[in-house]
């Protein structure tokens, strides 16, 4: 492992530690976690008893260490509504969220990279204009509205695709498009500007001058070099996708972590909320560390920094 990766690993661990502090603090925002966790009609006596039982009278630092001890083992307490370990409930829903986020990312990459390349190679043609306008609209469109409009057209009017639930491929199409559109728009614009920049470099001109055909110039000389920022943004966009799953899953009744967390918030089931926030944030940190590993292969210069 290079010094660079060692440093990044250390930084990632620090970030995970910070994430655990924030997740711990969510419960302590109002100053009284006991009142928050009990139903609104709990008596003052109940609250006092619960507070002692849960150790909420201890100093905050002691409470945090206890929380951390549980957290490293994946123990965030029991769900107040289901009486099961909170983390177990969240983990059960994780595959559904990964399936949706993965499909969203696949759509985004499958559409955005070709669109961005064509836009850059045929700059200022009608193809470029159409793709730019679509990307601009895609970036301005709120996810939940897009989802509702897709349901309106494809489920309510045309009756082609189901509007809710998880099942076969037909269940995945609408939510995946909804979740992926914003990312598609962003990656399209990034690919286009990255390709334009690389295509004007000297080495591209040299390749063309010595008679290399246009396709290898675009694919080998340009795309390889333009791919570095794209790999970075894929890591960052994963955060957008995981966050966006909260909204998309709610609209399409998709049984994933996002929908579970929204329900948990309305049920005041905070152990589940904490588990979900912690799990998704950790996923993001781990994926971004892996992106950095990929990065050092793509760009040897980074290894020596």
């Amino acid at each position: 492992m290079t010094a660079y990766l060692r440093r990044r690993l250390w930084q990632s661990l620090l970030v995970l530690f910070g994430v655990s502090v924030v997740v711990f603090l969510i419960l302590h925002l109002t100053g009284d976690p006991a009142a928050l966790l009990l139903p609104p009609d709990a008596t003052a006596e109940d609250i006092a008893k619960f507070r002692t039982a849960m150790g909420f009278d201890d100093p905050v630092a002691v409470q945090y260490l206890r929380f951390l001890k549980g957290a490293v083992r994946g123990d965030f307490g029991e769900s107040l509504r289901h009486g099961e370990p909170a983390m177990g409930l969240v983990l059960e829903r994780l595959p559904a969220t990964f399936e949706l986020a993965g499909a969203g990312l696949l759509i985004a990459l499958g559409l955005a990279i070709p669109a961005g390349i064509v836009s850059a190679v045929r700059r200022n043609t009608s193809v470029d204009y159409v793709s730019t306008v679509v990307a601009l609209l895609g970036q301005a469109m709120p996810t939940f509205w897009l989802g509702i409009m897709l349901i309106l057209v494809f489920s309510v009017r045309l009756n082609w695709l189901p509007s809710s639930g998880r099942g076969g491929l037909e269940h995945l199409i609408l939510p995946a498009i909804t979740l992926g559109l914003f990312t598609t728009a962003r990656i399209t614009r990034l690919t286009r500007s990255g390709m334009l920049e690389v295509l004007s470099q000297d080495y591209v001109r040299t390749a063309r001058a010595k008679g290399v055909a246009e396709p290898p110039v675009v694919w080998k000389h340009a795309l390889k070099n333009a791919s570095i920022p794209i790999v970075t943004i894929v890591g960052i966009e994963l955060g957008t996708l995981l966050g966006g799953s909260v909204i998309t899953e709610t609209i399409f009744a998709w049984p994933g972590v996002g929908r579970l967390s929204v329900q948990a918030i309305f049920n005041r089931d905070y152990p589940v909320v904490q588990s979900a926030v912690f799990l998704l944030a950790s996923t993001f940190v781990i994926v971004n560390f892996l992106v950095d590993v990929v990065y050092t292969y793509l760009d040897p210069r980074i290894r020596f920094r």
């Binding site: 924030v22 709120p142 509702i148 995981l242 799953s245 979900a276 950790s282």
Partner: protein, 308 residues
């Protein structure tokens, strides 16, 4: 006294109008360049329109946004009631005029947008200045904080915190404001790193200026342009987040009209009354598109090398 020849007269007039300062000239050039980009001009017009509609909502809206009329519920766009009053975008499930609710909804969107951007912008500016100027451990610490902030799926953290604190206009502004500083901090820090090495800053330090003085007089003013671009584009993001929170029922509570809240209501009537959910979403789309185009234009004019 003989009349002055015309050329001298016009020269006298020219002299009488006070000469424009350099800063003023710069603004005029900037505006001219912005206007020349048609997409930026379009964006500016949209933004101005939304601002005016929000500010003059009681004058612009044809109806009281809270006035219910069960007899007039779920009427389609262009519906004319018994008194001959037209509802251009139809009515909702309580017979309220949708256009009027959209116009008033712009107020919440813009207030949250402006206030949250101001909070996160100032916070991010301060953090970016400190990190970039002092470097070393200060920089390491602040940038790790930024990484921690970025690790959270934003909307999930926001709904968790608002779920605990309770939804209100103030809480929404604080939560969005406090957790959106990273972009500003990163951009300002990057600027400061290069400004710090410039000769005029080095000269100020060599002359014995105190740190805060160097920061305030020499560094801060030069970070304002990229900051402004980031703030403009971030405003669009905040408006989408506000409407997402309202959509989930964690925004400003009914009966106050919000775009996200209207969409959530409309979702229930999707199969019978498509206009309920369609128009508030279009309002968000057009507003966000306008801000984005204006912001892109601003960036291309002010600082084309900035990557946001």
């Amino acid at each position: 006294m003989a009349a002055l020849p015309p050329s001298v007269a016009s020269e006298a007039v020219a002299l009488a109008t006070p000469p424009r300062s350099a800063a003023e000239r710069e603004w005029v050039t900037l505006l001219r360049r912005l206007v020349r980009r048609r997409t930026a001009l379009f964006g500016a017009i949209v933004v101005l329109g939304v601002l005016l509609a929000a500010a003059l909502a009681p004058l612009v809206a044809p109806f009281d946004p809270l006035e219910q009329d069960i007899g007039q519920r779920l009427k389609e766009p262009g519906w004319q009631d018994a008194q001959g009053r037209v509802h251009p975008l139809g009515t909702d499930h309580l017979g309220r005029d949708i256009l009027s609710r959209i116009v008033f909804g712009a107020r919440i969107a813009l207030v949250v947008g402006l206030a949250a951007v101001l909070i996160s912008g100032v916070l991010g500016m301060l953090i970016g200045l400190l990190a970039g100027y002092f470097g070393g451990r200060v920089d390491d610490f602040l940038m790790r904080l930024a990484d921690i902030q970025l690790a959270f799926p934003f909307i999930l953290l926001a709904i968790a915190v608002i779920g605990v604190l309770g939804p209100s206009l103030r809480n929404i502004i604080i939560v969005i404001g406090v957790s959106s500083w990273v972009v500003y901090a990163r951009v300002v820090r990057g600027e400061v790193l290069s400004i710090r090495e410039r000769e005029y800053v080095q000269a100020a330090i060599a002359l014995g200026s105190q740190n805060w003085r160097v920061l305030r007089h020499h560094v801060l003013p030069n970070t304002f342009t990229p900051w402004l671009v980031v703030a403009t584009l971030d405003m669009a993001r905040v408006i989408v987040i506000e409407s997402a929170l309202s959509f989930l029922g964690l925004g400003v509570q009914p009966p106050t009209p919000t775009w996200g809240g209207m969409l959530a209501d409309g979702r229930v009537y999707l199969s019978t009354a498509w206009w309920l959910a369609t128009f508030p979403g279009l309002a968000i789309l057009i507003t966000v598109l306008g801000i984005n185009l204006f912001g892109d234009g601003l960036r291309d004019t002010l600082d084309p090398r900035l990557k946001v």
